[in-house]
C-alpha cells in the first residue's frame, strides 16, 4: 500500500499489470461503486446524460483503436454506428429477435461494413482515407434512406423496447446499468486489445507503416482488423443508442457526430484508453452546457444564437486543444498524477 515515487517492478506480472498497486485497485473499486450507485442519487435527466456518455465512451474506444492506435483516420464513425444500430433495430422490429441476440448481430454488421469501407485503406492514407470514410458515412446514410421497405427510410422505425429475458430495460435506471456494464467491459477489452500482438502491430503501423511491413507485419490483415474492431465498437454503441430511444432514425447519426467523436479523441488524448473516456465525458458535458446555455442566449441575443453557439463552441474547443494541448486531457491527467505521486520531490526515480 502506498504511493510509489518510482517504478519498482520486480517481475513480469507486475510490469504488465494495468493496476500496479493496491491503491490503484482501491481507486478503481471506489469509482465503480460510485458509478453503479449513481441511480440512487441522481434524477432521470442526469442518468440520461450519463447513459449518453457511456454510449459515447464505447464509440470513442472503437475510434481510438482505429485512429489513435492504428492511425487509420475515420470520419465516418457515425455511419458505422448507424449500420450497427439499424441492423439491430430491424432484427428486433421485423424479425422479432430478442434484444440480446440483435445487439451482437448489429455489432457484427457494423464490423463487416467497416471491413468493406476499410478496403481503400490498403492503398491510401491520410487525407485520402479521410475522404473515403466521409464518403462511407454519406453512402451508408443514403442507402439506409433508400431501403425504405426495411428501414422505414426518412420516417424512421419504431423498435420494441429492449428486454433481456423477463427483465425490462425500458426504465432509465435499468438501461443505465446495461450501458455502464457494457462500457466497462468495452474499456477493459480496449485496454487489453492494444496489449496483444494485434495491438502492438497497430502501434507499429501507426508509427511507420512501411517499416512495420518490412518487419513482417501484414498491413492487409492488421489494417482490416483495426477497421473491424473499431466498427464493432461503433455498432454496439449505435445499437445501444437506437434501443435507448426505441426508435431508429437517420437523424440520430448526423455527419457532425462523426467529426465530434474524433474531436472527443483529440480532446481526451489520442492513443490512450483513459483519454478516450476523458474526451467522451468532457465533450458530452460541453454539449450539456451548450444545451442549457442555448435558450438563455437565444432569448438574450437572437433566436438562432443557440444553434450557432453549439457549432462555434464545438469548433473552438477542438482548435484550442489542437493548438495548446495536442496530447489532450490525458496528458494533463498524467501531469497531475505525477505531481501528487512525487510530492514533495519533483523528479521521478526511473520511468
Amino acid at each position: 500500500m502506498g504511493l510509489h515515487s518510482g517504478t519498482f517492478h520486480e517481475n513480469y506480472a507486475q510490469d504488465m499489470a494495468i493496476f500496479p498497486t493496491k491503491l490503484h485497485w482501491g481507486f478503481l473499486l471506489a469509482f465503480l461503486i460510485l458509478l453503479f450507485t449513481c441511480p440512487l442519487f441522481f434524477s432521470d435527466r442526469i442518468l440520461t446524460i450519463m447513459t449518453m456518455m457511456g454510449i459515447a465512451v464505447i464509440s470513442v474506444h472503437g475510434l481510438n483503436i482505429l485512429t489513435g492506435f492504428c492511425d487509420q483516420i475515420s470520419i465516418g464513425h457515425a455511419g458505422f454506428m448507424a449500420v450497427g444500430g439499424y441492423t439491430s433495430a430491424v432484427l428486433c422490429a421485423k424479425l422479432g429477435l430478442p434484444f440480446w441476440a440483435a445487439l451482437p448481430c448489429g455489432a457484427l454488421a457494423a464490423g463487416i461494413a467497416g471491413l468493406f469501407f476499410g478496403l481503400p485503406s490498403l492503398k491510401i492514407k491520410g487525407f485520402y482515407l479521410i475522404m473515403a470514410t466521409i464518403a462511407a458515412h454519406f453512402i451508408i446514410i443514403w442507402t439506409i434512406i433508400q431501403l425504405r421497405g426495411i428501414t422505414g427510410g426518412t420516417d424512421g422505425l419504431a423498435v420494441p423496447s429492449p428486454a433481456i429475458g423477463g427483465l425490462s430495460l425500458s426504465s432509465k435506471t435499468n438501461y443505465f446499468y446495461l450501458v455502464m456494464i457494457i462500457a466497462c467491459f468495452a474499456t477493459l477489452l480496449a485496454k487489453n486489445i492494444v496489449r496483444t500482438r494485434a495491438g502492438r502491430a497497430f502501434i507499429a503501423i501507426r508509427d511507420n507503416d512501411l517499416a512495420a511491413e518490412v518487419m513482417g507485419i501484414s498491413l492487409w490483415s492488421y489494417k482490416l482488423q483495426a477497421f473491424f474492431i473499431g466498427c464493432v465498437y461503433a455498432g454496439v454503441a449505435g445499437a445501444l443508442l437506437i434501443h435507448y430511444f426505441s426508435f431508429a432514425s437517420t437523424d440520430q447519426f448526423p455527419f457532425f457526430d462523426s467529426v465530434w467523436y474524433l474531436g472527443m479523441l483529440i480532446v481526451g488524448g489520442m492513443g490512450s484508453t483513459t483519454g478516450a473516456i476523458f474526451g467522451a465525458v468532457a465533450l458530452r458535458l460541453l454539449d450539456e452546457v451548450v444545451t442549457m446555455a442555448g435558450p438563455v442566449l437565444s432569448a438574450a441575443v437572437a433566436p438562432q444564437a443557440a444553434a450557432s453557439l453549439a457549432l462555434i463552441s464545438h469548433g473552438l474547443i477542438i482548435i484550442i486543444f489542437l493548438i495548446f494541448e495536442p496530447r489532450g486531457l490525458y496528458h494533463r491527467w498524467e501531469i497531475i498524477k505525477a505531481y501528487f505521486r512525487l510530492w514533495p520531490y519533483s523528479h521521478e526515480v526511473a520511468e
Binding site: 483516420i73 474531436g263 438562432q304 444564437a305 457549432l311 464545438h314 469548433g315
Partner: protein, 295 residues
Amino acid sequence: MTFFLQLVVTGLAQGMVYALIAIGFVIILKCSEVFNIAQGHFVLIGGYLGYTFLVPFGLPIWVALGMAIVTAIIMGLLIERLILRPLLGEPVLAVIMATIALATILGGLATLLWGGEYKPYHGLLPSISLKIGAVSLPSESLIGLIVSVICVALLMLLFRYTKIGLAMRATAEDLQVVQSLGIRATTVYAVSWIIACVVGVIGGILVGGVSGAHIELANIGIKAFAVVLLGGVNSIGGAIVAGIILGMLENVAAGYLDPLLPGGGLAQIFPFIVMIIVLIFRPYGLFGLVRIERI
C-alpha cells in the same frame, strides 16, 4: 438528344464553378500541404456575403463583388494567422481536424449572422442568355461560366508572371530551397489562404445567384473534394478538367437515373460514389503526382 446536350451544357457551366472552388483547395494543398476541409464553407460565407451586399445594402453588382473580395481577403489572413500558423509542422490529422473545426465555426457564424435561412437574390447578377440550336444556357450558368474562366485565367497569369506567384510555385516544389533563397514561407501560406478564400467567396456568389444563399451551400465543398480527388490533389489543370467532367456526369446521371430511383437524390450521393471509385482504382487522380514513399 437535345435533352442530353442540355444536360451536358448545364453540367459544363456548373462544372466550371466546381473547378473554381476546387482550385482554391489545390492552391492551399500545393503551397502548404494542408487539406482544407473548410473550402465549402468559404462558398457558404460567399453566398451570404453576396446576399448581404446586394440585397440589404443594395450595392451595384461590381461594388458588391469588390466588397465581398475584400472581406474574403481579411478572412483568409485571419484564418491563416490564428489557426494554421500555430499548427505548422503538426501531423496531418491535427491540421485536418483544425480545418474541420474551422468549417464548423464558419457554419456557426453563418447561422448567427444570417440565421441560416434561405436568402434568394435571383436576377441581381447581370443577365445574358445564349441559345445554340435547341440548347439554351440559362443566364446564371453563363455568368458562372464566364466569371470562372476569367478567375482561372487571372490565377494562371498570377502564377506565371508575378513574383509572389513564382514564389508560391517554388514553395510547392521545395520548401527548403525557397527558404534558403530568402522567400518567406509564411507570406506564401498567407497568400494561398487569401486566394482560396477569394475564389471560394466568388464561387459562393455565383452559386448563390442561381440557387440563393442557404446553409446547404457548404455541401458544394464536398463536390469540390470529389473534383480534386478525380483531378489529382496537386494539379490545378486536373481540377479544371475534373470539375467539368464531374459537372457533366452529375447532370447526366441525375437527368437519366433520378426518374428510375424511387427516392431520387442521386445528385447528392454522386460525388461520394466518384470519390470511392477514384480512391480504390486511381488514388492519385487523373493528373496527380504518384508519391513514392521511402522509410
